[in-house]
């Protein structure tokens, strides 16, 4: 559960978001919508402290995830970012092969691969994959084999497996942009997050790739909390269970998707939905 309490963010003197109060429900797709430049991406990046990478940024207020304040001084940021994964607008593949891109997360966080694999086989999602997850022993060779199965699992989850299974070791930059974005999704999934933050995940993609990514999001929400920033109103209509509307740095209104489109409270929301402002 993510709770935002009076969150304000400014870059130097310029205030980007003001006093945002929002509770993100679990295991749903929450869409943050609004016109360009009104603070949606900043709001998203505040939730995994990716804003820390900018120099002039000031964040006030608090964000509480699972009862822990994430702007606490003693917090392990790498742990936070493992729990709250981030998918950016443009897919930036890491300078390595497709396989290494997906294996990067488990290697960095030294994840217990056999533990994850046994959980996967219990869920039983991809039958022929689960059939190959036999009893895991601790020898060197089977650790490599286990990682291989894990990488396959994440690539299947992101809908990319069939297109790359014969070329796992080509440089990731050789993939098309739609494939790269799905690779980025597999990469985020590989760190075993609980939340996925997606910043306009399909805006750089063609319609077919966009549809593929949206389909994956729909099946992923059963297990992950997904927060999507989008400026495509129709996408929000298709995907979202809960909508938060931002305008010029203010959180104007937020409610379940059905109510949002049928009974908006605020004038600005009405104007945005009807297309007067975009």
């Amino acid at each position: 559960m993510i709770q935002l309490k009076k969150v304000s963010v400014s870059y130097g003197d310029h205030e980007v978001i003001r006093d945002v109060e929002l509770d993100i429900p679990e295991r749903q797709i929450v869409a943050i919508i609004g016109p360009s430049g009104c603070g949606k991406t900043t709001l998203l990046k505040s939730m995994n402290r990716l804003l820390d990478l900018n120099e002039n940024v000031r964040v006030s207020g608090d964000i509480i995830i699972d009862g822990v304040s994430i702007y606490d001084n003693g917090l392990d940021v790498t742990d936070l970012r493992k729990k709250v994964g981030f998918l950016s607008q443009r897919p930036h593949p890491l300078p390595m092969s497709v396989y290494d891109n997906v294996a990067f997360g488990p290697r960095i966080h030294r994840l217990d691969v056999s533990d994850i694999l046994s959980r996967i086989s219990r869920i039983g999602q991809f039958e022929d994959l689960c059939g190959r997850i036999g009893p895991i022993s601790r020898t060197r060779k089977s650790r490599r084999e286990s990682l291989r199965l894990l990488v396959e699992y994440y690539l299947r989850l992101s809908g990319l497996w069939d297109e790359v299974k014969d070329r796992l070791h080509v440089p990731a930059t050789r993939l098309s942009i739609g494939q790269q974005q799905r690779l980025a999704l597999a990469r985020v999934l590989s760190i075993e997050p609980e939340v996925i933050l997606a910043d306009e995940p399909t805006s750089a993609l063609d319609p077919i790739s966009s549809k593929l990514v949206e389909t994956q999001f729909r099946s992923l929400k059963k297990k992950y909390t997904i927060v999507v920033v989008t400026h495509i109103l129709r996408q929000a209509k298709r995907l979202a269970d809960y909508i938060a509307f931002m305008y010029m740095g203010d959180l104007v209104e937020h409610k379940p998707a059905g109510e949002f489109f049928s009974k908006p409270d605020d004038e600005r929301t009405r104007a945005y939905i009807s297309g007067e402002i975009s």
């Binding site: 990716l50 790498t78 994964g85 443009r90 930036h92 890491l94 300078p95 997360g105 990469r187």
Partner: protein, 282 residues
């Protein structure tokens, strides 16, 4: 309109003439060295050391200078690499504040531009203080000092070209600064880093002034770090103005071999860079 076209044609002509001039000079240098050097080249020239003293002796070859140069430049390249790589990364924004980094870059640029004879003089003072005589060790120390500013600045430029978004993606996956630096930034900047090493290597192998007093000269191949060592640039220096034609021939052969080594290393570096660019994000 005609005047503007004429102006454009004039400048195109001037640019072409400049290019031809530069290429001709380069060709001239290579041609002279090649012709004079090839006439003196033989297997013995490469494999034998000078007989009868390097200045007056007519026989033998320049093996002392070839091996000496290779010893000097490999020792100093490795030492310079070990020091330069961490410093180049340390100059980045993640690790150092802007003021200190800018000041460091200024200092390094000044050091890069400092004439190598100054390094030689400095090295000589250090060696006298430490009680080392002109030797392989002395030469390596001075060449390392000479190469470090070049390597650091060139690596720094390569590392700075790694896009911020790439690093952001890596951090978003929950990495520490060191993990992102080594697993992502280093990989992405590797071709540029190789170029930096080759750049420094080129300066190091061709430099005469810095090793004049610090490496010494000899007609044997050194067996310990404290022995004096010959080098190709100094082989040219000492042997080109001799009245004895055979010794002069050795000078030109040394110049040709030096040129040859530089060309080979550059080609290998290009190949290596191309190989390492396989995975990088363009």
């Amino acid at each position: 309109m005609n005047a503007r076209k004429a102006e454009e044609n004039l400048f195109k002509l001037l640019m072409l003439v400049s290019l031809l001039f530069v290429l001709a000079s380069l060709a001239g240098i290579v041609a002279v060295i090649a012709v004079k050097g090839m006439s003196a080249m033989s297997l013995s020239m490469i494999l034998d050391t000078p007989r009868g003293g390097y200045y007056l002796g007519k026989e033998g070859g320049v093996a002392n200078a070839i091996v000496g140069s290779l010893y000097l430049v490999s020792g100093s390249t490795i030492m310079a690499l070990i020091i330069s790589l961490p410093v180049a990364f340390g100059l980045q924004r993640e690790y150092t504040g802007k003021r200190l980094a800018d000041l460091s870059r200024l200092v390094l640029d000044i050091l890069w531009g400092t004439p190598s004879i100054v390094y030689g003089a400095f090295g000589f003072v250090v060696m006298v203080y430490l009680g080392i005589r002109a030797s392989l060790l002395g030469g390596i120390i001075v060449l390392t000092l000479l190469m470090i500013p070049i390597m650091i600045r060139a690596m720094d430029e390569a590392i700075r070209m790694v896009r911020h978004e790439l690093k952001e993606i890596s951090y978003a996956l929950g990495t520490t600064r060191i993990e992102t630096t080594v697993a992502v930034v280093l990989r992405q900047a590797l071709p540029g880093i190789c170029t930096a090493v080759v750049l420094a290597f080129g300066r190091g192998i061709g430099d005469a002034a810095s090793i004049l007093f610090t490496a010494g000269y000899t007609d044997t191949i050194p067996t310990s770090l404290l022995d004096p060592v010959a080098s190709l640039p100094l082989a040219v220096f000492f042997q080109v103005s001799t009245p004895i034609p055979e010794v002069q021939a050795r000078a030109y052969a040394s110049a040709l071999i030096l040129l040859f080594i530089v060309v080979i290393v550059n080609i290998l570096a290009r190949l290596l860079g191309w190989r390492l660019s396989r995975n990088i994000v363009k």
